[in-house]
Subunit: 354 residues, 5 copies
């Protein structure tokens, strides 16, 4: 299956507001969770139907409505209807294959971004599409699976951290995106550590497996960069957006998001360069090692070639070969052979070929 | 024939409004099809002469006028006359070799874009020039051949999908362009799957044919990128255009087109990098394999060189070679040979040359 | 001589309005041609002195004044005086080595661009500097040689093509530039065909001469790109220029010029990539072929090495070599040799070294 | 540990205003130093508590408050409270791992930048995060360790240099940043000298250790570039910033900072290219040297091959080998051998293989 | 010494208006020259003290004050005082190591640019820092040595060239910068000729010294590019600058400077590509030549290997080797050897290995 994008032949030409789930169903049951708070009050609830959200809507509080699982078209349609969103927004939510984007509608801002998470005790990075709908009083977040990635934010809300309890939905949005980008940084950091450890073993002993590792890290890094690039665009658009739903004080936080994602992006660029340098070092080391071997072996053979020739000469069966009959000839031959061998050794050493 | 652009010597210096068909005639008869609709009514008709369109023009409905086949200058000229378009617009329509572009005229917007389609059960990608003329009440589309690529849109109109039946000609324009770009994405996806499958077989067994496949994919990808790049510019211009023919609500859809074509473009970039990495992996694997063989063979020969020399020495016919007459000399020689061979094997192994 | 730019030591520090001819004199006599027209009238004349132009100037018609040959300082100075142009404009006209540029003066627009032309029946591309001075009622074109490159435009004027006869000097400017850019496209197309034909012969049989051809095409392409790049800037500036001499209706045509030159530029980029891919394919093919040969030869020698060693052993002259005296020893030796040879062949084949 | 960025799993999701020290504790005790001055007065003091600063605040003088050591949360919190800064500012101060940034708050400007310093008598470059908070009347600088890098500025203040004593906090800010960037330039200069010295030894004798040096310089340069790039952005933002805290006269100085950091950045680019050229030169030299050796050795062996073959022929034990019995055969063989050897030598020399 | 930038440890942290000469003292005595002119009058004088300039200042003429030699702090300080310039301007003048820049002050414009000059009859390029201070009525130019580079401008002034005698200080500024950039173009042209000549000798006979030449040209080109890049920025800023000191009519000339420096920059880019292509051609030619040699030698040895083996077989001393005793065996052996040799030759030729 194509890793970067896929589109089945059937999907071509469907209406942009058709609610079709595009992706892999990763969870069985859809879960609807609500946290409603302001500086003083706090309510947490797991609800069954979308309608139950409405009671929180009337209040002047910040409502965070989290949906885990996107395959239930009915629920998604309910959200479109209850909140009066353009069906296109929800169609986008259900298309988990789409490119991260940010769109401003009349009554909401829609953000989609890829959430990357290092699977615990494993090298696998889980990718999940996160969609967010921001309005004045509610933030709806759509996740593909039930994850605990946003738990720290919930904790901060529960523990009455001043900033988050006093902030609006826009600050909540920042808090969620901050976690997403912190995960980018964390993943790049983990990968970076592996890459830097590679460097050491590369200098000590350039095993052939290293080439495989470098290539797999390269692939992983490409995958990260491919996800970070559009996220960067989304965050930039968000920081620049002049919307009623975003207060001035939150803009400063979005600037911080920008710094963080730039940091992630810069670092991934750096690691990319390091990997490509490592590949070069590997090739240089390998080829210089091979050169040494070949040089040694060739010099070794070359020394024996004239010696074997001499022995060959005196193996001929000519009737008249005067040297053969001299008493010390054999020993002289050995002498000559040794002199030639040593002479060549000295010559090659002088020429720095050995 | 030059794949990317061609211009015959004769065409140089012709007037920009001369109606000359530039391209390959891909269809025999020109077909004129009309779909006229609004939220409530729907009419479909295949007409013979351009004049017949006019009756739809008077009505307040959306008219989609599709022309398959561009070689009939008379018909094209008829369109220029009946709708009062600048002849230059129609000259552009007939020049199927031109670069995708978007131009705003007084009484219409002209868009041309390359339509790519994967031929069924084949690796061939068909390229066709699609021209679109947008006015307030009519959308004229020009295709080189009679294709069924826009059938899903027709279906959506027939099935009374709310959005398309309520939309104007601009929404219809979006629907058509959406199909074009979805086809880009689909084609890249298909190519991408092949590229990723290559990777596996590359790691298992780097056959030499792979190099040919990589190069052909590279060429295909270059071809796609060459078509996507100007399309991206067209879509961007369209999204930014402030025209009376484009309603604000459709602009959001154009933004989606932009996301999609960026997605296609990003993915083609990624696949390009993957291909170039694959080429590197192939070369590395091949060369490291060759190195192993050469190293083995060289070490093998080197071991025999001193042995053959020793045998040569005792093949000499000197009168006095004391060793020859000692009873066990032959066996001692064998012993020395074996010791030398094993010694060298141990030395080479220790040096990691074997 | 430096291909891309040259400046003699003497020219450094000359006044920018000094009328010095810088270039190669390509024609002996300067020729002054005039075409004067409006929708109804047409006059063509070859004149002797610049003064004769003035009578056309008084009329309300479009005057196209074409000068072939730039070395006659007197004539050039005459133009400066009669039309009251800044002498700097004419100094630029005479400097055929300068970079294509566009400059807006109080009473005219000055454009210079390189005109490339494929020499008939030859691979040579002729470069000529084309300078154009645009005012309200006259377009002056300066060519280095008397060429027939603009003949199609003259024909269009003579044949009373509506658009050109009704247009102003700005439309005439477009018509001339259109021919220049069409020639770029034609040349790239011709080169492109050659490059694509190379590809076929590259896959069939990678002869060594191909490397020379690739390099010469690369040089040719670099030369084209070097000329197209500043032309692109000139056309862009022209399209963006807000001048009284350029009517709104002509701006649309300038937009078309831009599309065309972008097309040329994109295609040259594509061919560049193709050439660099071809170079890679060539190297890969050649090196993989050499590898095959070396592998075969090495394997071949390696098989004989132990065999020769065995023969050497039984060529020794020891008094006691028991095997020598056994009746079938010689045949056994042959058997052993054949077994070893076949065994090695099987081993190497199994290891895929053969 | 990842060199470029690190983020522990625990930090993900913390509030942006939580005051956590992120970095390595490099100093034991926090030191608070104050210099307060205007054109006429000067006071220097080392204080114990943040409260002591306040007395300087009331005066109309410029106060420079320098904090060495960031691990004491209490002190940092005290600054937030006493000066009424947003806690987020101080959270940023304590996060020494963050990317250099500049942020404008209601009551201050926050700048963070990496301070690089060549350790004396060593190749090590110390990196330290420098944070600066600028208000109308105070400049607070946060350093990780107690360094004497800003001593020249203190000296200039003490020596009553007119410009610094008459300038405001913004001029002081410039003076500090100037030192930071001067250190960048100094470090690049030192590295550059080493790189250029490498070039000489590269041409004289390409030892294998050079490859290691080139790679270590490359890594060092990448590290510098990685730090300079965001610093460049910070300086650019600063130069463009329209803030009440920055007087017009200081803007000119910020322009100078920009020139300087561009100079540093350009130079690092140049050295990067030089390093990559050096790598190429090294490889070319090494491979051309190896080629020479292999060519020599191969030619040497090839000359002996037919000679040994001839000796072999006359070592055969056939009953009838007429040449064996001719008296001068042995000497003729030697003659033939010498002729062949010399012939081959001449041939190879003529072919320029030797 | 670092070629691209240097900063001694002591300079870090000095005040930006400290008048310290940074560079190499290239001249012993400072020379102060004045040319004062308007359309009608002309005065030339070599003065001793800065004060003498003032008398020219009162007049309504254009004064060009040229200072050769920058090491005399007193004189520089005198200029600052007499003309009331910010000391920072003069500090910049004395820092000959700085990056080319342009700065607008209240009472002047400061420009610094690198002046490159081909040393006569040598490959050396002299670099000198040129500083210019422009005010309404005076242009001050600072050169490091007494050169005659600006002599052509003095000549134009003396010869009463209309444009320069009627122009203001801004036109004089243009005339000086024009010479600087013309020298850039001249130097690139000279280098370019050498590079193009290299190409020919590269195709005829790829000697090893060529690699050294290519690398030295590359370094020279990098050095030029490094100087041209900031000069380009300076010229661009100058062309865009809206200053009272620059009249509208001169702006057109600055546009010409821009064209010229872009021409220089484009050409250096082209030569860079050519050099890198040449390097590729060299490597390809060399390696294909080596391949031919190695192939020939290997094929040569391989042919002898089975022949020597056969001779070895019949050199064995077995009691029973039937072939040895047959009368024609020796001649048959020769026949077999010749057949094998010819067979292999035919085979290798057929396989195109020879």
């Amino acid at each position: 299956m194509a890793r970067f994008l896929k589109k089945s032949k059937e999907e071509i030409g469907t209406s942009p507001d058709e609610l079709i789930f595009r992706g892999d169903k990763k969870i069985n049951e859809v879960q609807l969770r609500i946290i409603d708070f302001d500086a003083n009050s706090l309510a947490e609830e797991t609800i069954k139907t979308v309608k139950e959200v409405l009671k929180y809507q009337e209040k002047d509080t910040v409502t965070w409505f989290n949906i885990d699982g996107l395959h239930n078209t009915e629920i998604i349609e309910g959200i479109a209807n209850e909140f009066n969103f353009d069906r296109m927004v929800l169609a986008d939510v259900m298309n988990t294959q789409a490119r991260p984007t940010i769109k401003e509608y009349d009554n909401c801002i829609y953000i989609s971004i890829k959430m990357l998470q290092q699977a615990p005790n494993s090298d696998i990075i889980n990718v999940e599409n996160l969609s967010l709908i921001l309005t004045e009083s509610i933030l709806i977040s759509f996740q593909e699976t039930k994850g605990d990635v946003f738990e720290p934010v919930r904790e901060r809300i529960r523990k009455q951290k001043r900033r988050i309890r006093n902030g609006g939905t826009d600050y909540l949005l920042f808090a969620l995106l901050d976690i997403v980008i912190d995960n980018y940084i964390y993943i790049i950091g983990v990968l970076g550590e592996k890459i830097e450890m590679l460097e050491e073993s590369l200098l000590l002993e350039p095993r052939q497996e290293i080439i495989g590792e470098i290539n797999s890290y390269k692939r992983e890094l490409n995958f990260l960069r491919k996800n970070i690039k559009p996220a960067k665009e989304v965050i930039l658009s968000l920081a620049k957006m002049e919307s009623d739903y975003i207060t001035e004080s939150t803009e400063m936080h979005f600037k911080e998001l920008q710094d963080n994602i730039n940091h992630a992006s810069d670092s991934s660029d750096s690691y990319r360069e390091i990997l490509s340098d490592q590949l070069n070092i590997y090739h240089t080391t390998i080829s210089s090692k091979l050169n040494d071997i070949m040089k040694f072996l060739t010099v070794f053979s070359v020394i024996f070639i004239p010696l074997t020739f001499i022995a060959g000469i005196y193996g001929t069966n000519f009737d008249v070969v005067p040297e053969l009959h001299y008493k010390y000839s054999y020993f002289i031959m050995w002498g000559v052979i040794i002199v030639i061998a040593i002479g060549m050794l000295i010559y090659f050493r002088k020429k720095k070929w050995l």
